[in-house]
């Protein structure tokens, strides 16, 4: 039962994350896939912060929250749309647009994850 509950927490997080991503896609309409870039950076920032904070939570509730957050970040971020949009940029614009999307996504997401982790580690007392 408890394992089932943890899977449900992960799935619920994933569903909510996907809806949040879709809602942003509808708000931001641009030829450059900014909405995917924003959700990916946001998801990495949250997962980075969570990776510094959530291990401190103990017990079953802690594990539930960890699964919920991990599910949310996985559902909010997307690799498939990122790859498809990079391909699409190469076709509809130039290979430089595609390369810009790839480099920006990688650099900003790595920086976001690192910042989220470092910020929580520095500001939140253990």
């Amino acid at each position: 039962m408890s394992a089932l509950l943890l899977h449900l927490a992960f799935a619920l997080g994933g569903g909510i994350g996907a809806v949040a991503r879709h809602a942003l896609t509808l708000l931001v309409t641009n030829r450059f896939p900014f909405s995917t870039l924003v959700v990916n950076v946001a998801g990495c920032l949250i997962l980075g912060a969570a990776s510094a904070f959530l291990p401190r939570l103990t017990g079953f509730e802690g594990e539930e929250i960890r699964r919920l957050v991990a599910g949310f970040c996985g559902g909010l971020t997307t690799f498939s749309s990122f790859a498809y949009q990079s391909l699409d940029l190469h076709r509809s614009a130039t290979i430089y647009h595609a390369a810009t999307n790839i480099v920006l996504s990688l650099v900003l997401c790595l920086a976001a994850f690192w910042s989220g982790h470092a910020l929580v580690a520095a500001l939140v007392p253990a």
């Binding site: 619920l12 994933g14 996907a18 879709h22 990495c44 997962l47 996985g74 790859a83 498809y84």
Partner: protein, 127 residues
């Protein structure tokens, strides 16, 4: 924004996330990041297939499959978490290889998915 579309995205995202959580631990390719790599490549193959048939499929099937399932099944955050772990561990070359493989194979898989979808649709239509 319509409720059926939101529901399709929610269910797709939940099912995709669950599928990744259950499948990824079964993939043993030697290095931990390779499980995420495999899952992401599979999602790219599927999204290529679905988007190639975008005009022929019901829009809520795209909401469920491409936006929801592929988005939930694939993950950018966990991909970055693993790259970050490699970088912090000093494995720069492996981190670069993991990123290059994911992006290169992911885009290749999307192209392959599109071509498979087109070829399959032609075969079903007959000569």
């Amino acid at each position: 924004m319509s409720w059926p579309a939101l529901l399709a995205v929610f269910v797709g995202g939940a099912v995709g996330s669950l599928a990744r959580e259950l499948l990824a631990p079964m993939v043993d390719l030697g290095r931990p990041w390779m499980a995420t790599l495999a899952v992401n490549i599979l999602a790219c193959l599927l999204i290529g297939w679905l988007y190639a048939l975008r005009d022929a499929l019901h829009r809520h099937l795209i909401h469920f499959g491409a936006v929801g399932f592929c988005g939930g099944f694939s993950t950018f955050s966990h991909f970055v978490l693993e790259i970050e772990g490699l970088l912090l561990g000093g494995a720069w070359l492996e981190a670069a290889a993991a990123a290059a493989l994911a992006i290169g194979l992911g885009i290749a898989a999307a192209v392959l998915g599109e071509r498979l979808a087109v070829a399959y649709a032609r075969r079903r239509q007959g000569p």
